[in-house]
């Protein structure tokens, strides 16, 4: 059993919450309890009154539980897994739980309301368990009073409070009204993992039924009374700005209400306001199609204010700055330069990847209703708190007068960490004086992204006469900063080691794209290690294990960022599950550690009509305690397909500052027929605190892909996207 202190920073569970007013929660769908997911039957009775136990939990007189899910739902399924953690500690039946999306509310929710960095579960683990355990404590205390039995002599079992002899019992629902005023102590007991009955099971997505019925869930679906529709036009190229446009002609178009230029510059822009175009044209009308037609008729004078960059400029700049760029980070163990110079044999390989866009299938959109001194913002956002403060700064309206509600999000991948579309919606609503839903056309979405930067890294290895690895070095550069993590693997496993990041520059807006930097570095590093193993005449998995054992037994240099023992376990697990040493030999392996999670993957290729095709993928994951097993597998399956897809097919190119690949006819995303036939996911079982899963499955997929392609084609792949340039599988 774990004792946990209930004070989280300045946020405390100690204060009592008090009952909410009677009546129903607004906008609540009664057909969506977790019971309904299983039985598909509606609830027996509709609760009349809910008692607010704390910010996360409401209980009605019949013991039905509503859990508010605090974090943005971008498809990582936190709307199911976060409430599972609360329900576990509350000790209720999952079938009695209904989940509702919480809004941005720092008073109610003690965990950061943020979706990014695979952090929702990691950062939510303690606050969510405390919320559940505090609720359970309050209910037992209330029952203790009601039954006149000492607190210590009461136990709970799935929503029912018993005395120890189990002769006397009372339901949570019967004491909920009395529990609301009970104070939570400073220290609370939490369940030990072996007692879990909800965590570690597989529970279906609580919104699955709504999704398959096409119900209104997403930002783009949101409608409000008197709501207008708006679209934007931004400069056609990075390095341009607007001078003037044919406003009169646009306003005369059918269905158009107004058109104007907005400026969303704020006095002290946050990291989430890195978008390139602050001044854009907004067209407002009644219907989307009318506004789209008006957009086509825009005649704009754009002026050049900076360089108009080409992909060829980017390539040359990366090449130059990889040699001469400013070093921003560096780790040096031993003297790799000398060892490389005096080596019997050396290996040098250069890896690169292009810019890519997030391409969330739901394009950027947001609803805003700006009044004189208050704002309502509703839509898909990974960073609701950041949006609130940026809108506050933009409009000069205090944050406490701004309400942010999160809709279900049609894909994030990092794109919706950035808040500009929310600021734009707010500014348009303010100018037009009405509630507005802003929607980007796909082309707008793709051509003013916050892209994954283009990267280039050069790896070098030295070998002695016995073909043993003696030195390793990597230098990486990106537009604008390098992708290397100097203290990650293989740091610590090689005595003469250099890892260095160099900076470059660009006026293309870049930012976090699913597993930032790792999404390139894992593929490059794991491909290079595969080539090293080949020179050393070692099995690729054995070779990685040898390096990791060296990090345990005689680590070189200062501290490194990973736990070699956990790394070894995932490699051993994937070796076993993939039958690595038998059967089809066209298998490639990669392992990587990022976002606090260890992952090893094996990809198996087959030849189908003279084309290599991925037949099987095996994946071993150590993310500590797994909350929702099947859903965790889904996340890993998706991230593998995402990694493979982008490494094989996707690229974003520029000509005169313009994005060339401006829609899905010119930008390739992996499709159904290109996906692996089967993905097998396995978790290392342990009782360590859970870490995130949104990102860490993706990076090693690219390494395993490149290595398996080598096994079947005899060809090494260095430059992403593999199939664009090599043109290997084009049909």
């Amino acid at each position: 059993m774990e004792i946990i202190n209930t004070k989280i920073g300045r946020r405390s569970f100690l204060k009592t919450s008090g009952a909410i007013g009677g009546g129903l929660l607004v906008g609540f769908n009664w057909l969506l309890s977790c019971k309904d997911l299983i039985s598909k039957k509606p609830l027996d009775s509709i609760p009349k009154e809910w008692f607010k136990i704390n910010g996360y939990i409401r209980i009605d007189q019949n013991g039905m539980v509503t859990i508010l899910s605090p974090n943005p739902e971008i498809g990582q399924n936190v709307m199911t897994s976060m409430p599972m953690i609360v329900a576990e500690e509350l000790d209720t039946r999952w079938e009695n739980v209904t989940v509702k999306q919480g809004k941005l509310d720092g008073d109610s929710f003690k965990n950061p309301q943020f979706a990014g960095g695979s952090l929702s579960i990691k950062k939510g683990w303690d606050p969510l368990r405390i919320a559940g355990a505090a609720g359970r404590y309050m209910l037992i205390k209330a029952a203790s009073k009601e039954l006149d039995i000492p607190y210590e002599n009461l136990i709970t079992d799935k929503g029912i409070i018993f005395d120890k002899s189990k002769k006397i019992k009372i339901d949570y629902g019967k004491v909920a009204s009395k529990a609301v005023h009970i104070k939570v102590p400073e220290d609370l007991k939490l369940k030990s993992p072996e007692k879990y009955t909800i965590i570690g099971t597989s529970q279906r997505n609580v919104e699955g039924p709504k999704i398959v019925k096409g119900e209104s869930l997403f930002g783009i679906d949101f409608q409000a009374e008197n709501m207008l529709i708006s679209m934007i036009e931004h400069p056609p190229a990075f390095g341009m700005r607007i001078e003037s446009f044919n406003k009169d002609e646009i306003i005369d178009m059918p269905g158009v209400i107004d058109a104007f230029v907005i400026d969303t510059s704020t006095p002290n822009p946050s990291w989430a306001e890195v978008n390139a175009f602050k001044e854009i044209i907004a067209i407002v009308g009644n219907k989307t199609w009318d506004v789209m037609q008006a957009k086509k008729k825009l005649k704009v004078n754009w002026v050049k204010i900076d360089n108009l960059e080409d992909s060829e400029d980017h390539r040359l700049r990366l090449e130059k700055d990889l040699l001469y760029g400013t070093t921003t980070e560096k780790r040096l163990d031993g003297d790799p330069d000398i060892v490389l110079k005096n080596a019997t044999k050396t290996l040098e390989r250069t890896y690169s990847c292009p810019f890519i866009a997030h391409n969330t299938l739901e394009p950027m959109n947001f609803f805003a209703n700006v009044q004189e001194n208050s704002v309502e913002l509703i839509g898909p956002i990974q960073t609701p708190k950041t949006l609130e403060s940026s809108v506050s700064s933009l409009l000069g309206i205090p944050a406490e007068n701004i309400e942010v509600k999160m809709t279900r999000i049609g894909g994030g991948f990092g794109r919706r960490l950035y808040v500009h579309f929310g600021l734009e919606a707010a500014m348009i609503s303010k100018k037009i004086g009405a509630p507005v839903k802003l929607l980007y056309k796909r082309e707008d979405d793709l051509t003013q992204g916050i892209y994954r930067p283009a990267y280039k890294s050069v790896y070098k290895a030295a070998f002695n006469k016995k073909n043993e690895l003696t030195a390793f070095s990597v230098k990486g550069v990106g537009l604008p900063s390098g992708p290397v993590f100097p203290n990650r693997f293989p740091a610590g496993s090689i005595d003469h080691y250099l890892a260095e990041n160099k900076s470059s520059s660009t006026n293309i807006s870049t930012g976090a794209w699913r597993a930032p930097k790792s999404n390139f570095t894992a593929g490059a590093e794991q491909s290079f290690i595969d080539e090293i193993a080949e020179i050393c005449e070692k099995d690729p998995i054995d070779f990685r294990l040898e390096l990791l054992k060296k990090s345990i037994q005689s680590p070189s240099g200062k501290k490194f960022d990973y736990d070699p023992k956990r790394f070894i376990k995932v490699l051993e697990l994937v070796r076993e599950k993939s039958s690595w040493n038998s059967g089809n030999k066209y298998k490639g392996v990669a392992s990587y550690f990022c976002h606090s999670t260890y992952v090893a993957e094996v990809i198996e290729m087959v030849m189908v009509q003279n084309q290599p095709k991925i037949k099987n993928v095996w994946c071993a994951v150590d993310c500590g305690i797994v909350i929702n097993k099947d859903s965790a597998k889904n996340m890993i399956e998706g991230s593998i397909i995402d990694g493979i897809g982008h490494a094989l097919y996707s690229e974003l190119n520029f000509k005169d500052g313009r994005v060339i690949n401006n829609n899905f006819d010119k930008y390739n995303l992996i499709r159904f027929n290109q996906a692996p036939s089967k993905i097998n996911v396995f978790f290392v079982e342990n009782n360590l605190s859970p870490t995130g899963l949104g990102e860490p499955g993706l990076p090693p997929a690219i390494g395993a892909l490149a290595n398996s392609l080598y096994r079947i084609t005899g060809k090494r792949f260095y430059s992403q996207p593999f199939f664009s340039k090599e043109n290997l599988f084009s049909s």
């Binding site: 997505n205 019925k213 783009i220 299938l361 049609g410 796909r442 829609n663 499709r671």
Partner: protein, 159 residues
């Protein structure tokens, strides 16, 4: 602007619209059926897939003026009396969705396929489903759901 009478989910709707307006926006904004999604506007992603006389079409490029008397079915029209169709049920059982944005379109493409070919071989599934992008990469689960819907249909058989 012109008046059109269109049959959507077995109901006749009267709409006033520019004849060039894609069916997608009529469905979403005039009829407030928001399950059909906008993804690309150029028939490349399949998020807007609906049925026209049972055939899967991309409603983002299909003008309202071309609909005439033909029958349109949207994702909302698949579930009868609050019951899930066999394809929707398979999607729930396989817990296919991640973000879920593309899934209405995926289900419409899968349903059109299974209504024509009750036990489609893999290459037929590939052809029917490769026009629908899932950015979250749920393709392996979509395939599983199609297979299980296909075997459920053989034993039960409902639309």
């Amino acid at each position: 602007m012109e008046f059109f009478e269109i049959n959507v989910n077995n109901k006749i709707h009267q709409v006033e619209a520019d004849p060039s307006t894609p069916l997608l926006w009529i469905i979403r904004e005039n009829l407030s059926l928001v399950g059909t999604k906008y993804g690309c506007g150029i028939s490349q992603c399949g998020a807007c897939t609906v049925h026209l006389n049972g055939e899967a079409i991309r409603s983002c490029v299909y003008p309202v003026s071309a609909v005439g008397k033909q029958k349109i079915t949207t994702i909302e029209g698949l579930s009868k009396d609050g019951e899930y169709s066999y394809v929707q049920e398979a999607w729930i059982n396989e817990d296919v969705s991640q973000c879920g944005y593309c899934q209405a379109g995926q289900i419409m493409s899968a349903t059109a396929l299974l209504e024509k070919s009750s036990d489609p071989p893999d290459d037929e599934i590939d052809i029917a489903m490769s026009g629908n992008i899932c950015r979250c990469g749920t393709y392996t689960r979509i395939k599983k759901a199609i297979k299980s819907a296909s075997s459920n249909k053989k034993s039960n058989g409902n639309y």
